[in-house]
């Protein structure tokens, strides 16, 4: 189960603005999904290590050699707001 406070907290962490109706639906749907997911909370996992990668690679390292990158024009071309070669963002408060 997940309550309104948790939904609001998680939405803030994820930077998602939800209106009241969305928040309500989200609470119900997440609670429903979590009920199914809770199956794994009942499993006996004593001594079972976590799997982060299914492949057994190690030490994939790159040589420290510069590669050509993007022109300033290409770097900025999809940006919504540009000021003197930089990406613009709204004020922070």
């Amino acid at each position: 189960m997940i309550d309104d406070t948790t939904v609001r907290h998680v939405a803030r962490l994820a930077r998602l603005r939800l209106d009241d109706a969305e928040e309500q639906v989200m609470r119900e749907e997440l609670s429903g999904i979590l009920e199914h997911i809770d199956a794994i909370r009942a499993m006996d996992l004593d001594g079972v290590p976590p799997t982060t990668h299914v492949i057994e690679l190690e030490n994939v390292l790159r040589a420290d050699e510069p590669r050509p990158g993007l022109s300033q024009e290409d770097a900025l071309r999809e940006a919504r707001a540009v000021v003197d070669g930089s990406f613009e963002v709204p004020r922070m408060d």
Binding site: L16, R17, H36, R41, L45, L70, R77, E78, F87
Partner: protein, 479 residues
């Protein structure tokens, strides 16, 4: 029979014999794409494709893939061709680079004709989560093509392209291939570079081919596998992918996953799979029952791990460097309003679920446990492959369902991937081939093998394909 009825292999042969040009082939498919009866495409690059076809036609020697058309899932970055991943968050976005797998195929002579529809950011099993439109199942336009790579599957089934690329995180290639009656394969995790694949769940995502024959799928795969210096998780490929030729299955041990042949599987689907297994036996294979007791926990595990990874992967979409953005006068609004408005409901649901599963106080209960269940699933597969060479099951528990049928209940939609998710969690290769019809709709047979067993899987699928002799042409398809 028109040019579009030729398989990719046949089209390449026609080109080699000089009986057709790349431009003619590309034009024939572009005509169909212009009508796009099944709403498979989000963007079409007709000019670029024709130009490339002319270039290839002018080459002194044809490249291996000859210059035949290719559809590409919109989750793959294509330089200067609008790439949205099915989301309003990337509406109008023109990437500055091309995904490695696409670049490799272009290098080998594939001609990208356009980008195919998909569930937003690959989250879904019906392509109904596309922010742009529903794609229709070529076998029944009132039904979904499956997803998330529904556009790529429908485009191949409807013969708008001979083959296409999809991506598969929990079944997003195999399930739509099954629902559209074509071949779809997810290779071993790490087989194909993910560089340029817009990430959904990084530890699960793999690119793979759609085609109407196993041989075509193998050919596409052959030109994509192998290590890419841009992807740390890509693998040095041990041996070349062969175009399959097997005609019998003598000595092959096929394990039937009992957990995936029971409750929750449509009787018609089960029946078609069983008929296919009988045919496998007739080809010399031994059929044995196998248990994967944790496999059914795969769904719950997946719905913790994938959302958790996606919650981080989708954080970069903030409207600052690319993509549309809300006009806001402070940063917090810029983030929250942009993301709140431009992500669709399913994407927001998964971001919320994943953020929750990683949040302080919940990590150990959810993410931590899911990673450990994943270990159990990996072990169970390893154990199963000590006794059998290939595991068989239905690809999807049902045939294509009606559009709108499951959109109200997220978990009902999640169940569509119950058969495909276990192999995804274990990083194993799996292929879906059409094995018959149920109520006039295609049924998919899933074959999974150990890591790097692509060649054997392709051979098995090819041999079965010959005896199943499924007619991939949807009834009533306009020519």
């Amino acid at each position: 029979m028109g040019l579009r009825d030729l398989t990719a292999t046949e089209q390449i042969a026609e080109l080699a014999a000089g009986r057709v040009s790349s431009l003619e082939l590309v034009d024939a498919h572009l005509d169909a794409i212009a009508r796009d009866d099944v709403e498979a495409f989000l963007a079409v690059d007709a000019e670029g494709a024709r130009a490339r076809a002319r270039e290839i036609d002018a080459l002194p020697e044809r490249p291996p893939l000859g210059g035949i058309p290719l559809g590409v899932k919109d989750a793959l970055s294509t330089r200067d061709i609008v790439t949205t991943s099915g989301s309003k968050m990337l509406e109008g976005f023109r990437p500055v680079y091309t995904a490695t797998c696409v670049a490799r195929l272009e290098q080998a002579g594939a001609v990208v004709v356009g980008k195919t529809n998909m569930d937003e950011f690959a989250m879904g099993s019906s392509t109904e989560n596309s922010a742009y439109k529903n794609t229709l199942n070529p076998w029944d336009h009132d039904r979904v093509p499956g997803g998330s790579s529904g556009g790529s599957a429908a485009a191949v089934s409807a013969r708008e392209v001979p083959w296409s690329l999809g991506s598969d995180t929990g079944g997003s290639i195999r399930q739509p291939a099954a629902l559209c009656g074509i071949v779809g394969m997810k290779p071993t995790y790490g087989a194909i570079s993910r560089y340029g694949l817009i990430a959904f769940a990084s530890s699960l995502d793999q690119v793979g081919p759609f085609a109407r024959t196993v041989a075509d799928a193998a050919l596409l795969l052959k030109h994509m596998v192998g290590r890419d210096p841009m992807d740390s998780t890509s693998l040095e490929w041990p041996a070349p992918i062969d175009v399959p030729m097997a005609t019998d299955l003598a000595g092959l041990r096929i394990g039937v996953v009992e957990e995936l042949m029971g409750e929750g599987i449509d009787p018609g689907v089960k029946a078609a799979v069983e008929v296919a297994l009988v045919k496998a036996e007739a080809l010399g294979a031994t059929i044995v029952p196998v248990n994967l007791p944790t496999a059914l926990s795969g769904l719950a595990t997946y719905y913790v791990l994938a959302p958790a990874e996606c919650s981080a992967n989708l954080s970069r979409f903030d409207g600052i460097r690319y993509g549309p953005s809300a006009e806001a006068d402070n940063l917090l609004d810029q983030y929250e309003v942009t993301r709140g408005r431009l992500f669709g409901p399913e994407v927001k649901r998964r971001i919320m679920l994943g953020t929750f599963a990683l949040a302080s106080g919940y990590y150990d209960q959810y993410y931590g446990r899911a990673q450990r269940v994943r270990t159990l699933i990996v072990r169970e597969f390893a154990q199963a492959f000590e006794g059998v060479d290939v595991l068989a099951s239905p690809t999807s528990p049902t045939v294509a369902f009606p559009i709108g049928d499951r959109t109200a209940d997220p978990y009902a939609m999640y169940l569509a991937d119950v058969c495909t998710i276990p192999a995804s969690l274990a990083g194993l290769p799996a292929i879906s081939i059409p094995c018959g019809l149920s109520d006039g709709l295609p049924v998919g047979l899933q074959l999974a093998g150990p890591a790097f067993s692509e060649n054997r899987l392709l051979d098995t699928a090819h041999a079965l394909e010959q005896v199943i002799a499924f007619d991939t042409r949807p009834p009533g398809l306009a020519t």
